[in-house]
Symmetry: C2
Amino acid sequence: MRKFVGGSSLSSLLIRSFQLQNRHRSLSSSQSRFLSSSTIPLLHSVTTMGGPSSNISPPVTLQTINPKVGSFRAYAFMGDYFALAKVKLGLEWVGNILETCTKGFGDGYVVKCEYAVRGEIVTLAQRLQEDLKANPGSHSFDEILYCNIGNPQSLGQQPITFFREVLALCDHPTILDISETQGLFSADAIERAWQILDQIPGRATGAYSHSQGIKGLRDTIAAGIEERDGYPADPNDIFLTDGASPAVHMMMQLLIRSEKDGILCPIPQYPLYSASITLHGGTLVPYYLDEASGWGLETSELKKQLEAAKSKGIDVRALVVINPGNPTGQVLAEDNQKEIVEFCKKEGLVLLADEVYQENVYVPDKKFHSFKKVSRSMGYGEDDISLVSFQSVSKGFYGECGKRGGYMEVTGFTADIREQIYKMASVNLCSNISGQILASLVMSPPKVGDESYESYSAEKDGILSSLARRAKTLEDAFNNLEGVTCNKAEGAMYLFPRIALPQKAIKAAEAANTAPDAFYCRELLNATGIVVVPGSGFGQVPGTWHFRCTILPQEDKIPAIVTRLTDFHKGFMDKFRD
Amino acid sequence: MRKFVGGSSLSSLLIRSFQLQNRHRSLSSSQSRFLSSSTIPLLHSVTTMGGPSSNISPPVTLQTINPKVGSFRAYAFMGDYFALAKVKLGLEWVGNILETCTKGFGDGYVVKCEYAVRGEIVTLAQRLQEDLKANPGSHSFDEILYCNIGNPQSLGQQPITFFREVLALCDHPTILDISETQGLFSADAIERAWQILDQIPGRATGAYSHSQGIKGLRDTIAAGIEERDGYPADPNDIFLTDGASPAVHMMMQLLIRSEKDGILCPIPQYPLYSASITLHGGTLVPYYLDEASGWGLETSELKKQLEAAKSKGIDVRALVVINPGNPTGQVLAEDNQKEIVEFCKKEGLVLLADEVYQENVYVPDKKFHSFKKVSRSMGYGEDDISLVSFQSVSKGFYGECGKRGGYMEVTGFTADIREQIYKMASVNLCSNISGQILASLVMSPPKVGDESYESYSAEKDGILSSLARRAKTLEDAFNNLEGVTCNKAEGAMYLFPRIALPQKAIKAAEAANTAPDAFYCRELLNATGIVVVPGSGFGQVPGTWHFRCTILPQEDKIPAIVTRLTDFHKGFMDKFRD
């Protein structure tokens, strides 16, 4: 049932995408920045919270906020801001993040974009959940199955015991000396807590650290990187951050001077990138991953998009690569990575490598290679390539999203630029110490012979092998659906199936003032309680429709998801088949 | 020994300050944004880390980074970025943050500003510390006394036991059910951990939360605010953040559209504000606190500066008030706060109230009143005043800087604007859960009858009364020095004494290419091991010289600090007396 749009059709769509972008950009800034006053009543009519009712206009209105904030689109899958690609341009649906998120919209268009993030689907999911609680049996399903966000512990995944033992002991070190503690905590957790405390000046886990993070923890992380890659890593290159997102923002803030600065980003992409580029006033330069070759990343496509951007006067500064891919799940081959490194070196681009899913690889024929390892293996050192690798404690098998730990490894920048990055890191003083400690633990887990090694390994393998099984089961289920094709999740935590929606469904979506993929997702939720994210939240080749589904529901829920999904899809197709 | 510059002299200095600012602003942006290539060798000559040596220019250089990043000045008191006010304009030293930090410098001026943040003093302190370790007795002092940063636990302050017990139990909840835990943890800490876990969906402390923070914790915080103020607080108004800094950035990002948008900030100020305004491309509109009246905040001064800014075409959006003051330590009187509220209401300004030192008040005749309480007591509600209150777990008597917890309470904004704030909060998904938990604990500590109440109260009172004693001892010591005057630290954690430096010292500083206050601080460090921050890091009336000294060294160190400081100062004055 696999069917794909071929390369030539892709190209014409890309050109159109650029034309649209430029049409927007040519609007005068005064036009593009604000909502016109005539469109405001539209928005006010849907506000429900209390607000100023006096006649004096309030100090802050939608017309007077930073237009970069007004125009970017919130995360497609967070809370109330679940994507609903409601944006319509002329008579054509444009679900692509490029068209919906970059600056320069006409006024009415921005209002629609604001509408888009109001979050009908998650709001709907939450309403259904309340309904089920109040009136059990009121729907044809008995629970809401959240497959919309990579938040493993929210779905019942348990934290790795060793990591949490060490965190607890570092939070309350006074119990380290008490003998009862040995009955409650493993010996190596106690030992590790002592080691970490000794790395912290004054053993003060409640003090601000060095702006880059505690030096001893950076030493541990650098050693972990060395062990992973077989090449040296310098603790002074590590910047510990509250998750990977602030690190990405920092680099965008450094690189982007104006809308004339471009960042090459994959489409589909994780919306952090589009949001961050928009907030910092730059231009997202898209390159499309090739769905037909398993979301392949072709350097010919990179080159084509780079040239196209240059011809529009865009100064392309950096290339974002997400490996393993989000939302696409592909794992890059080493040879492919070498081509990418070569491309960045030749074109003078900073390589921004999102490597947060480095522990999430599910297929035996693929292996994660860091871009640093690949570039070093090519003989390229500090002087040859500017490379930033992002890592997070939120992903992997540990999935510690709430701890907000992460780091970036910054290599190949001159000392003066590193000083500027350090300065930016200093503005928020430091990242949280628990997250810093956890980042060091993730990069130096228990080793053979440690008391916790066996339980740690069992927990890790249990989670990863279960994720691999879940990915395969869901992939097969999607590929068994009429008109649906789904590439393998080689890594990460998501599947991104493509649906060939019948014209009748597309028309019905239009009538409902909804993008077709969002229409499908809403119907799915209403019928089954399954929450997934429309492809328009990540970007897709215009005219194609996808959704992102996590592989994170606990394994015992997967069969029910498959059954419900299959039944729903059959009914949907029967209803809308052309 | 108190001597102050009178009001009229202040005014003329302020006018000059504005003139300087405008002179800068009139430079063309191409001139002002980048370092000219001719000035780069200067900078390169001081870089020591390895960087590209090949002939191909690297993808990122000081000429090609975001000029907003290049031009803002890093924190005056963090790590390597200790302020050294090296900036010279014409023949006159300008140590004022306004002149050093805002955009629009001539090229050579920016290079000097970059120089300024290289951090000679902390680097020097660290070198001295290493020296002392390697060669005990190599200096006339035996330890470095860090009085430069409000980081209590780095100086030996112990965390509040109850808070840490709860955090540890929430990090590792599996021990909650084990009987041995009752021997290690207090009963109310165990109970509180259960309560908190029950407020977290799935009890998952490792999951991303709602973008504003966990709803149950926001309920607790809102209840704490209600108890503090006697007026209702809405959990939906609370945005939990990683410390107060990200909250301040969020508001600046929302409000600032261009350099034509101004934010009224106190001078002296906490440099977060100048850094954040610069990073977001706005204009800092200064209002001077009146040193002569104990760092009084006069609304006539606010009005004057507002009008001056308006006449320059600046659209002033907000007023920042820091209460208790940083670096100045004053606590505002309630009547004064009422005038400020009235001013904001009348002028349509958002009131940004930095209230992170609300627990740090040391004088019996002053009391902290939140601006929300004050405005509600005046009968002003949601429709009357837009008010944001910032709170942090880093300050107070708990001083949990490393936990990065905090919140802002956002009131008096329309629903559509709140949606935009929510959207910004969503970009980084959520703040760290440990910080969120701690923020809730700080706002709902143990109560009479709880097992921990007595020990908690003893710890709290011990820290606060000791801080009050330390503040008084240091204040008296400063006022006993020749040519030094020091206002009372009514609250917060700092003293900001003023030094009347002899002309001979000013000339010596000039010869050493250093601002006079930085020269004094460096001499002090070299002679005594005491680290303080030059006033130029916070802003001061041009031609006046100050330094900020924390009251945080443990009490047994205070006598030595006083003795060393007194001896040094006497010697300094003897050497440089005109």
